[in-house]
């Protein structure tokens, strides 16, 4: 049941879903190939994420996880392949339009705007939104998830600790009111306590109905919270299945849950 290459039981582009059939995926990545100059970083990755699902994307260093997420956000263009979101083609859309469409990202390495205040960083997350009225409420929601940010509002983002910066990066992504949240290694370099906080928040967001695509090095934790997961190796999907299936898979056990 470890469905190597998903054994063709995928839902495909069936969009006519009757009451019984599975809902079409919110995000469908089909066979994307992404290059850095002549170097191919992503070699035909396909994956999909259904509404309200939490999907983990695992893989060792250099597997192409970040490249995949950045391509979904429109920061890189795939040389071939297609990305559809909510039935619409994203492949040629500018990044700000993709955020406006409801996909936001907490990027790898946090990427905080160091000389801007925490408040400005958060407000920047809401850049493509038209409804300025809702901002106060959304800031409150972020403070509710990460109370420490409220105490740091006027502080320059670059002066926050690593964990605080990670919370700021996630808060900033949430300010876009995403329907699909892309998280790139949110627990990287954090102390165990902080890792737990971050995963608590991820679970809570899922419970609130946010669809999440999570890239993680911490495979054990990721598989615990994920509905489904994909394993990437040198730019291709080598395994996929439910979180439980993958957690029980001996290959995954050896390579990622390691002992």
């Amino acid at each position: 049941m470890n469905g190597r290459k998903d054994a063709g039981q995928t839902q495909g582009p069936l969009r006519d879903g009757g009451p019984g059939s599975p809902a079409p995926p919110l995000l469908a990545v089909e066979e994307i190939r992404v290059y850095y100059g002549a170097i191919q970083a992503v070699r035909g990755v396909s994956l999909d994420v259904r509404e309200r699902e939490l999907v983990a994307l695992l893989g060792s260093n250099g597997a192409g996880k970040t490249t995949t997420l950045r391509t979904i956000s429109g920061l890189f263009r795939p040389r071939s392949g297609k990305i559809t979101y909510d039935g619409a083609d994203l492949t040629k859309l500018a990044p700000h339009r993709i955020v406006a469409a409801g996909i936001s990202q907490s990027p790898e390495g946090r990427q905080i705007f160091g000389s801007l205040t925490v408040r400005e960083n958060l407000l920047l997350g809401a850049t493509p939104r038209k409804d300025r009225k809702g901002l106060g409420g959304d800031l409150e929601r972020v403070f509710d998830l990460f109370p420490v940010l409220k105490e740091r509002l006027a502080q320059a983002g670059g002066t926050l600790s690593g964990g605080e910066q990670q919370m700021l990066a996630m808060g900033r992504a949430l300010m876009a009111r995403p329907r699909l949240l892309l998280l790139d290694e949110p627990s990287l370099g954090l102390a165990p306590l902080m890792v737990r906080r971050i995963f608590e928040v991820v679970s809570r967001l899922k419970a609130e109905g946010v669809t999440i695509l999570l890239v993680e090095q911490n495979a054990r934790k990721a598989l615990e919270v994920a509905d489904r997961a994909y394993v990437l190796e040198t730019g291709t999907v080598v395994l996929s299945g439910t979180g439980l299936e993958l957690a029980a898979n001996p290959e995954v056990e050896r390579a990622y849950l390691g002992a």
């Binding site: 950045r70 700000h96 990427q111 000389s115 801007l116 400005e120 407000l123 106060g136 006027a154």
Partner: protein, 390 residues
């Protein structure tokens, strides 16, 4: 959510607390400036008054460059091209028709040659020229910026320098309209301290409003980390275009002030030397700081005047120096190099004069902390993130 109102009042209350002294400080500063200008206007000789006026004109240009390049990190070396456009537009509008006749400017369209503002109130004619100069410069900036603002980093610097060279050679060679290298003269001297400082204040206010708006925030974000800015949904091209066009408008508006101050416009006055002077003003003040640009402009305008005395020679103890021409330039250059070594972020970096001082006095604690904690070297040092080149 129900908790929404609980923050809002707090936030606005603290903002009000800060706003009253800030407003009072601005009013006080404006009053002092007005008193000084009235005094200068009444008692300074023509030359000194001209220097005082020049401080404001240079401040306008430096603030505009801060907006265009300091906020966005997109280095424009074409700024002075817009100044030239504004200056020529102002001159051609307000020259007396006798100087625009077929004999002097055969290439000028008839309607412009006949356009006569000599009957207007000089300040109205000047204001009109500033507005038209600004609009023409902004229009050119829109056309030029469309392709150029898509380029990254150094390419923009080179390409905008190309724009400056084009403006220069048009001014040099379109003799029927510009009289080529001889330039236009007989431009009535309409500029006074009030107009110049008025324009500078408008530029400062515009830059400040832009900086605190979502657009300004987006500009700083794209300067600091291009990948992250794009990831959060900043339309980088649009925010650079806004900075470029608004900066061009303000610079173009300063052009007529300069033309009506000096009385003539010639291509050589709007080229590399002027460009580098303005760049130094901005870098000295701190890329990204409006008050830094004003300070930089003041220093770079006043210092050469004070240093001019040095060139006459002097006695230092047993040593006696004869007249050394060019010494003031060398002293300024050395001073600039020293500033860059010891304070590469310029005097202010990204900060603004006054805001921090005001905040420290106020009862807000979070604000105080922000001032005390060392900020990551702002401005140039932070630079674009690792992903910027992609």
């Amino acid at each position: 959510m129900a908790s929404v109102p609980s923050v809002r009042p707090g936030a606005t209350a603290s903002r009000h607390r800060g706003a009253v002294p800030a407003l009072a400080a601005v009013a006080l500063a404006l009053t002092l400036l007005a008193v000084f200008l009235a005094y200068a206007d009444a008692s300074f000789n023509g030359y000194r008054l001209q220097i005082v006026t020049l401080v404001a004109i240079n401040a306008t240009i430096a603030v505009a460059l801060t907006l265009t390049s300091g906020f966005t990190g997109v280095f424009s070396l074409g700024q002075i091209g817009f100044l030239a456009i504004g200056a020529y537009v102002g001159a051609l509008l307000n020259l007396a028709p006798q100087w625009k006749s077929e004999m002097f400017l055969p290439g000028l369209p008839g309607w412009l040659a006949a356009f006569d503002t000599t009957g207007w109130h000089p300040q109205v004619a000047l204001l009109f020229a500033c507005l038209v100069g600004g609009i023409v410069a902004a229009t050119v900036a829109t056309l030029v910026g469309m392709p150029l603002m898509r380029l990254s980093g150094h390419y923009v610097a080179v390409a905008t320098m190309g724009f400056l060279i084009i403006v220069h050679s048009v001014a040099n060679n379109w003799s029927g309209v510009t009289r080529g290298a001889r330039g236009l003269s007989q431009i009535p001297s309409y500029t006074n301290v009030w107009a110049a400082y008025g324009c500078a204040l408008v530029a400062i206010y515009a830059a400040w409003r832009l900086r605190v708006s979502p657009y300004g925030r987006a500009m700083i974000a794209s300067r600091e980390n291009l990948i992250a800015a794009r990831a959060v949904g900043v339309n980088v091209h649009r925010s650079r275009m806004i900075a470029f066009v608004v900066g061009a408008f303000l610079t173009g508006a300063a052009g007529p002030l300069l033309a009506h101050q000096i009385g003539s416009v010639a291509p050589s006055a709007y080229y590399f030397t002027t460009t580098f002077n303005v760049v130094i003003m901005v870098v000295l003040g701190g890329m990204g700081s409006i008050s830094g640009a004003v300070l930089g402009a003041a220093i770079m305008t006043l210092a050469p005047e004070y240093l001019r005395g040095v060139e006459d020679g002097m006695d230092l103890g047993p040593l006696s120096f004869g007249a050394l021409f060019g010494l003031s330039q060398i002293i300024l250059a050395i001073a600039f190099i020293l500033v860059m070594i010891f304070r590469p972020q310029g005097f202010f970096g990204d900060r603004e004069l006054g805001l921090g001082l005001l905040r420290r006095r106020g009862p807000r604690q979070d604000g105080d902390e922000a001032e005390v904690t060392p900020t990551l070297a702002p401005g140039l040092d932070v630079g674009p993130g690792d992903g910027a080149s992609r």
